[in-house]
Symmetry: C2
Subunit: 397 residues, 2 copies
């Protein structure tokens, strides 16, 4: 069993705050500042340009990718870091569409995070080849998989409700219809067990500033199924995805492996902080994390439902269909969340009426859950939220 | 006049090193480590998710863009930060091609940095609409501008030779033919005066880890001419380029201004280091920098030519046609550069036979140039480079 008190001690958790928003931005790992200082002063400062070799900056995107691979059921050498999640979605979809040139349908769902849909829309408009982006409700997706489908592009865990798709079954169904599948693991990596190899997922992408605690703007990752890689043409064909970047070849020749999904110069300082953050996962299995996450979520749901009758559960009641977050609906959700933050309980609001709470076993324990229930119950009972101060603030996080 | 001793004191320059490779990776500004520590501990650590508002992370890409705008002749509100230079090249070219739908020719030149050509090639393949990428020699470009040309995409200063295009004249000529122009300012921003507004350039892109000293992997910038912005469809239509990112609108509506060129979550830690690095430019004009840069380059050329007859000048002899670097050709250039680095003189090698030296007035002075000439002359005279140790190393920087 994991010593969760030990993992909690790895993080800086401000006094008086209960942080149930690690599914938006994970908290600071205590060692991050020292690593950043070392990269800046000892590596950049003293090695200058030689840092690319001496400090192994050039290999970092693959090295960090391997650490994440373990958490998402991928083998070493199949995941590489870089850019943002939006860019990685674009890369995956552009490549996938070229692997299914005779099909014109891209399907996602209406619960997907907007940037995935925007990037798909932008790509489809650029291509101008009559592709159609369908966004049925999450529940309708499986029933609409047919042989017109080129690419199914889904976010595994819904950012608002925490509803989780069945990755194994849906991937199989899409494959049976001859389609490819891209999984966005933004709310899955480090949150729930994922088995990309076992599911035979074609592509996966994700961000690292949520459950992986890489810090604001930490780079994204992309996975390509090993037997696809050599057939994937990188649409974003940057020099660091070239087979020999420093040959300065006038013609683009993609690297033979996952490195072809690299684009430009990696953010070394930012990625070093992520690399340090990932040390919290040493010796931790996603099975242990999942068991604890389910316990914490169940405890929270039971407590809130017992004490806050005004709130309606928006997440699936069945833990097997829920990620590592719990959401409730309430008309005045925005004002409620402001009142909670004012009391030191940080969760998140998502329009139009959802308040959500992320449960991150590495640093959230049962005492935090008990305290969070108490604060939420107080705020609801006292109608603290029902005043102009909380109604007027702008929603920007 | 600028106090160059004062600006030099802002940088960490390791003892015993003469650093003429700031055109590849600028050195560490002394204040950068403290800024990174503060962003990590005081902002991320203590503010957690609230940092997006409280520490103004969300506004940072525009705020930093404005600081760079001043150095490249752009007005505030026309430059925004994010991603890598490769991605910004793709964005600019994708948008420009849509503004000239009836034309099929993209022209660059054979001296452009490979990633620009690779990204253009990747985009053209994705579009599949018969666009052609022409790469004549830099000297032929002007003569080939005609009314078939959709987009002229040039790097202002050549990364190998330092040859500089006449931005004003070429932009005018392309506009006269009805084409759009994208300038890559990788070796120009902070190196030579640039007047994007005066030239009426359509798009410009650049990186910030060379003359702007933002550190390894510091984010890129993009400029769009103000009267184009509203007509530009972002091909990489990410949520942070949306008019209202936090409305989580299912449909993409681009921001009305340069913010539409934003894509995903910005690298806050990395960009904060860049923001601090840009403080070195406070009170500095590009006119003063240019005068000093020309002096340093002329001194270096004269000294090397007097003492190293084996080396052939690869850069233009006319300072008006040269950026802020000096390059020489020599068959054994790679081994020579290794021998120089071994003696503490850091420059760069570019295949097949170019050794290059960047002159960066903020922290390189005449004493450095004198010392560099001495080391280069010694190495050439003693044929230090002519031994297996220097011949065998791999070129990877």
């Amino acid at each position: 069993m994991i010593d969760f008190a030990a993992t909690k001690s790895l993080f800086h958790l401000p006094e008086g705050i209960i942080y149930l928003d690690g599914n938006s931005l994970g908290p600071l790992p205590k060692k991050a500042a020292a690593r950043a200082a070392s990269v800046i002063s000892d590596e950049w400062g003293d090695m200058l340009i030689c840092g690319w070799n001496e400090a192994k900056w050039m290999e970092q995107p693959a090295r960090v990718g391997d650490k994440i691979a373990r958490l998402i059921g991928a083998v070493p050498g199949t995941v590489v870091m870089g850019d943002t999640l939006s860019i990685k979605v674009y890369q995956a979809l552009a490549s996938a569409l070229e692997l299914r040139p005779d099909r014109k349908v891209v399907m996602s769902d209406s619960g997907n995070f907007p940037t995935d849909l925007y990037m798909a829309d932008g790509l489809i408009k650029s291509l101008g080849r009559g592709h159609v982006l369908k966004t049925p409700s999450p529940e309708q997706v499986e029933g609409l998989i047919d042989e017109d489908l080129a690419v199914l592009m889904l976010t595994h865990v819904d950012y608002r409700t925490g509803r989780m798709h069945d990755m194994q079954r849906i991937t199989q169904k899409a494959h049976d219809a001859g389609a490819l599948v891209i999984w966005d693991l933004a709310h899955s990596a480090g949150a729930v067990p994922v088995d990309l190899s076992g599911c035979k997922a074609d592509f996966a992408v994700g961000c690292t500033y949520k459950y992986l605690n890489g810090g604001p703007g930490s780079p994204a990752f992309i996975y390509v199924r090993p037997d696809h890689v050599q057939h994937v043409r990188p649409a974003l064909s940057g020099w660091l995805g070239h087979a020999a970047p420093f040959a300065f070849d006038p013609d683009y020749v993609p690297a033979p492996d996952i490195s072809r999904m690299r684009v430009g110069t990696p953010p070394v300082i930012q990625m070093s902080v992520l690399e340090t953050a990932l040390e919290a996962w040493d010796g931790v299995t996603m099975t242990d994390i999942r068991a604890r996450s389910v316990d914490l979520c169940e405890q929270f749901i039971a407590g809130v439902e017992a004490r806050c009758p005004m709130l309606t559960l928006a997440s699936p009641r069945d833990a097997a269909q829920r990620g590592s977050q719990v959401s409730f609906r309430f008309d005045q959700g925005y004002a409620v969340m402001q009142a909670l933050i004012d009391r030191g309980l940080i969760g998140d609001f998502r329009a139009p009426d959802i308040i959500r709470f992320g449960f991150t076993p590495l640093y959230i324990d049962q005492d935090d859950v008990t305290a969070a229930i108490g604060i939420l119950a107080d705020v609801m009972a006292q109608r603290t939220w029902d005043c102009a101060r909380f109604q007027k603030r702008q929603a920007v996080t």
